[in-house]
């Protein structure tokens, strides 16, 4: 099976760098800050594949580079080095196997809009809080060239129904909504153009436990229905256990262990993963 999304050697450095940064940082050196020049290597030489319909988890403590990976994949940040291929995007662009990081901002934005959906931890990043919930979904559809208000509203209400947001509040701005509801509007927005890849960046962090459970339930049922390949980033092992089939463990910007989620949670090999699994409350 060919991977839907392939990442090779993804590196993001904040700071000028000195040439020795890669040797002086990483999980073995116990730091992501180069002691010589002070540059931060938020993620270093990260490589992985995501297969169609698969749910892949990325777990690690804060500062381990999980969110940086997601932002790089969503083109929110420019990488220092690395290759990024998306099977569906290649087919649409007409040529095989192009590195998406080498494309123009215009092409990248098109690919992002057509093939990717993202849900951020903070709804402020993913939503326009002053624009109505329906408008937030409409924005993505408008970007994709929809020009019929009636059909846009039909699709938006269909998505809001799927994500269990009361339709009566479709034309209200999300700043009036609770945190859980904002998150569900974000999910609806991410799903609006039927993306091939869904990126979930700490979706349940900051929600209370019962709302967390609801959002996770929703994500699981959507996953069952739609079968979108999903990347789940979380520091919460419960979320990883519930949603993912395969997991990557990151520390200091590096992948230190990967494998089936059950295996990693039941029989962790790396000392850090063991610590992580054992420190679950």
């Amino acid at each position: 099976m060919t991977p839907l999304l392939a990442v090779r050697g993804l590196t993001k450095r904040f700071g000028a760098g000195c040439g020795e940064c890669l040797d002086r940082t990483g999980a073995l050196r116990e730091t992501n800050r180069c002691p010589r020049c002070g540059a931060i290597l938020a993620c270093r030489e990260v490589s992985f594949d995501l297969y169609p319909g698969e749910v892949l988890g990325i777990v690690g403590e804060s500062g381990s580079g999980k969110s940086t990976v997601v932002r790089l994949l969503h083109f929110d940040l420019e990488p220092t080095a690395g290759e990024y291929r998306l099977a569906v995007a290649d087919a649409a662009a007409g040529g095989g196997g192009r590195n998406l990081f080498a494309l123009s901002p215009f092409q990248r934005r098109r690919i992002r809009n057509e093939h990717m959906g993202i849900v951020y931890q903070n709804p402020r990043l993913g939503l326009r809080l002053k624009v109505s919930a329906g408008g937030n979904i409409a924005e993505r559809l408008l970007m994709a060239g929809w020009r019929h208000v009636g059909r846009i509203r039909e699709r938006a209400s269909e998505l809001l129904r799927q994500t269990e947001v009361p339709l009566a509040r479709m034309d209200e701005p999300p700043r009036n909504f609770s945190g859980g509801m904002q998150q569900r509007v974000q999910i609806a927005k991410a799903l609006s153009t039927r993306p091939a890849v869904l990126l979930l960046d700490e979706v349940t962090t900051g929600l209370d436990v019962s709302v967390q459970a609801k959002v996770l339930d929703l994500l699981r049922s959507l996953q069952r229905e739609l079968g979108i390949a999903t990347l789940v980033v979380s520091h919460d092992l419960g979320v990883i256990r519930l949603l993912t089939s395969r997991t990557i463990v990151m520390r200091h910007g590096e992948i230190i262990e990967q494998g089936l989620s059950d295996q990693i949670l039941e029989d962790p090999q790396h000392p850090y993963t063991q610590l992580l699994v054992n420190s679950v409350l």
Binding site: F106, V131, L142, H148, V149
Partner: protein, 312 residues
């Protein structure tokens, strides 16, 4: 620095200030702007014509009127005008408003051209917020005074960001604004300054002309030039260029309508009308916004059916 010596008579203008002013005017180049300034503006105009709807920055000069009072349009007029030209200046359709008259006086003094109020007779027309009712032809240039050249300013305050949006043709925020308008009010409430798509590529602010005038921009015979003096931008719509107001398939943009109204002076029922309230009796009446068009009809005393403005 040395101060000028006070003259024995106590005035700095021997021979009177009026004569000094005339002599001063003669010391400027033809049409006030120096030749290098004109060359720069003409180059910018050519670039703007090559990229229909794209805002081209230029070095806006200090003019003897305040920024925001038509300095952009005035600089284009002065850069393009020659002794053979015939100039018409209108302000919201009116030939006789203070602003239009002052600009005409100034250009007349520095360029010595003929003035007209007849739309057909003019070669250059400088306008504020209107397009004349009479159709322009290929020999004429319409120059707009533009207060805010950036159509995306409504949705994005950052210039850096709007430039990126133009570069990537990322106009979804503007579309979203219109969508929200429809959701909230049941129709698009943008009156003047309705955003238009030029040549299928750039979103353009047509300056605050009423929606009524937008169809005249589409595939016109003449050249339209826009200039914002304060914001230092020039843009253009060349002849025969597609200009389409943003509209949804099920919510088309509409022009203003005046059901059952006609001009109380010339009787026209097919021109853009201004509402006038009679102070004494509080009665409303409606008159053509384009005064030259109205006057022409009145003197010809023609029935409304023979209107050259086209039916709408």
């Amino acid at each position: 620095m040395t101060r000028p010596e006070p003259t024995p008579s106590g005035t700095a203008f021997p021979g009177g200030w009026r004569r000094a002013l005339e002599e001063g005017a003669s010391r400027y180049s033809y049409a006030f702007l120096d030749e290098s300034a004109k060359r720069e503006i003409r180059r910018r105009i050519l670039k703007a014509i090559a990229l229909p709807g794209c805002q081209v920055p230029f070095g806006s000069r200090e003019m003897p009127i305040a920024r925001g009072w038509g300095t952009g349009g005035l600089q284009l007029t002065l850069a393009l005008i020659g002794p053979e030209d015939v100039l018409k200046v209108i302000d919201q359709g009116c030939d006789d408003s203070v602003n239009a008259v002052n600009i005409k006086k100034f250009v007349g003094r520095v360029a010595g051209v003929r003035m007209t109020t007849d739309t057909r007779a003019a070669t250059l027309i400088q306008t504020r917020h209107r397009i004349p009712e009479e159709k322009l032809d290929s020999g004429q240039v319409l120059i707009f005074q533009v207060p805010i050249p950036e159509p995306l300013r409504l949705v994005e305050p950052s210039e850096r960001e709007t430039r990126r949006m133009h570069a990537e043709a990322d106009y979804s925020r503007m579309w979203l604004y219109l969508y929200e308008d429809i959701v909230r009010y049941g129709e698009i409430t943008v009156g003047a300054r309705y955003p238009v798509m030029v040549n299928g590529r750039y979103l353009m602010d047509p300056s605050p002309i009423p929606r009524w005038d937008l169809p005249r921009l589409h595939r016109a015979e003449n050249l339209f030039l826009f200039c914002a003096g304060r914001e230092k931008r020039i843009y253009a719509v060349p002849p025969h260029t597609d200009v389409e107001p943003l509209s949804f398939e099920d919510f088309a943009s509409r022009v203003e309508r005046f059901p059952g109204r006609s001009c109380s002076r010339c009787g026209a029922g097919d021109s853009f009308l201004d509402e006038v309230i009679d102070d004494a009796r509080g009665l409303r009446s409606w008159v053509c916004s384009d005064t030259a068009f109205c006057e022409k009809r009145r003197t010809r005393n023609a029935p409304p059916a023979e209107a050259p403005g086209g039916s709408r």
